[in-house]
Amino acid sequence: MIVELGIVAAKALLVIFMVLNLAGVMGWVERKGSALIQDRIGANRASVLGFAGLGLVNTLLADPIKFLMKEDFIPPRGDRLLHTLAPCLALFPALVTFAVIPFGDVLMVGEREINLQVANINVGILYIFAMASLSVYGIVIGAWASNNKFSLLGGVRGSAQMISYEVAMGLSVIGVLMVYGTLEPQQIVRSQGELLGGWLPAWGILLQPLAFVLFFTAAVAETKRIPFDLPEGESEIVAGFHTEYSGGKFLMFFAGEFAEMVTSAGLMTTLFFGGWQVPYLVRDGFHFPWGTIWLLPHLAVVLLQVGMFTLKVVFFCWLFVLLRWTLPRFRYDQVMRLGWKMLLPLALLNVMVTGVVIVVLHNGS
């Protein structure tokens, strides 16, 4: 009992540690990446004993210190309680969502089997969407509590945008769930280890390419990053919902956005890119389709899988940054039109086509 509790606690700590660190590193990737794209140097002012470390000192050391030292400003006619609560509401869902995303297969320690996933719930995907749907509150409440018209505009925009894209996001995942026939993330990842025709890994992107495109678009919109940054809208409504935030609370909104990015990346990896699956790697080593077999020790297999998962997540995080700094922004009516008139019908079509294909294949065999 105590050992089990300890294992769960260790897994939870590991995941939180990984997500927060990845979110922190994303701050560096974002600043340096944007500098790279815009052909400038970027974040290199702060240094320790003349060592700037490619901007690492600036983004990982100087920026947080600066944020935490700033005055924590609460608008005098705003709502004190809700103004403080909002950043917590923004950060919390992004962190707890990762609990059901599996980051590896089972790890055997002696006789004990450890499932490399913090919580294995049989409605895991539903849990993810339930928690993701709560992340709107941070924006809406923060915007309202600031008692500022620009904040309020950002909050109204944010609530409408996030509800719209949640619908499209949920419907695009339905196709994937139909194909794998389960709501358990770990089960979905396991099914993606099977081989189609003996050589092609059955990853979600190959079975549900349209669903991936829709899901990716909706996920970018949910993170409120640049093609969809209407709630923030720097060029029109100052800084949108976080106009009146400074210091530690602003840092929490910021960290929440990055943690959300990491979580969406993890979700995409799990649903469409085989999660921790390395092609042709099964529990005792590589089994290539042409017959070669490489046996590997158990620990090496587990490390390879966890490493592969991390690599895929990092790749998607990088893709988010790339998108943000290369695409122009949408206008608000364009955002709404894209969500309701393009993503939603396409997602419904995808569900229908998937259903027909499944029935035909089922009756054919």
Binding site: D79, L82, L85, I121, N122, V123, L126, Y127, F129, A130, M131, S133, L134, V136, Y137, V140, I141, A143, W144, L152, G155, V156, S159, A160, M162, I163, E166, L183
Partner: protein, 161 residues
Amino acid sequence: MILFFILAALSVIFSLAVVFQRNPVHSAMALVATLFLVAVLFLTLDAPMVGFLQILVYAGAIMILFLFVIMLLNPEALERRRVFWWGLGSTAALVLIVEMAALLSAIPAREGRIAAVAEGFGSPEMLGRTLFRDFVLPFEIASVLLLVAIVGAVVLAKREL
């Protein structure tokens, strides 16, 4: 048991806040907290699917709609308290609670014992099977109802068609 009492106490406190907070946004946030706590109670009753749907549908969508409307209309004035209605409402609620308590305490304790349930109770498979085998017609009617609601909302809220 302890968990139940904590959840119950918190949900009663938050639901009282829904009624007695004079600011509609505070009421809405208290209601969100209540809905969340009730969803956790669903989890303790082996209904994980319904519990998460409750968070997704109520807390994630309906309450955001409420907040959206509050922010859109942004009614400035706080409402005035009216002693008569206040008294009537709380008296009615108290009577209701006492009546329910009397009714519930009349049931012998052994009737209320909760039986063990089969493995997989409340799982998506079982829920789906019941929903699409025994309740197909109500399901279809519910979907028509939602369609009517969508059309009605658009007609009502649009300034000119």
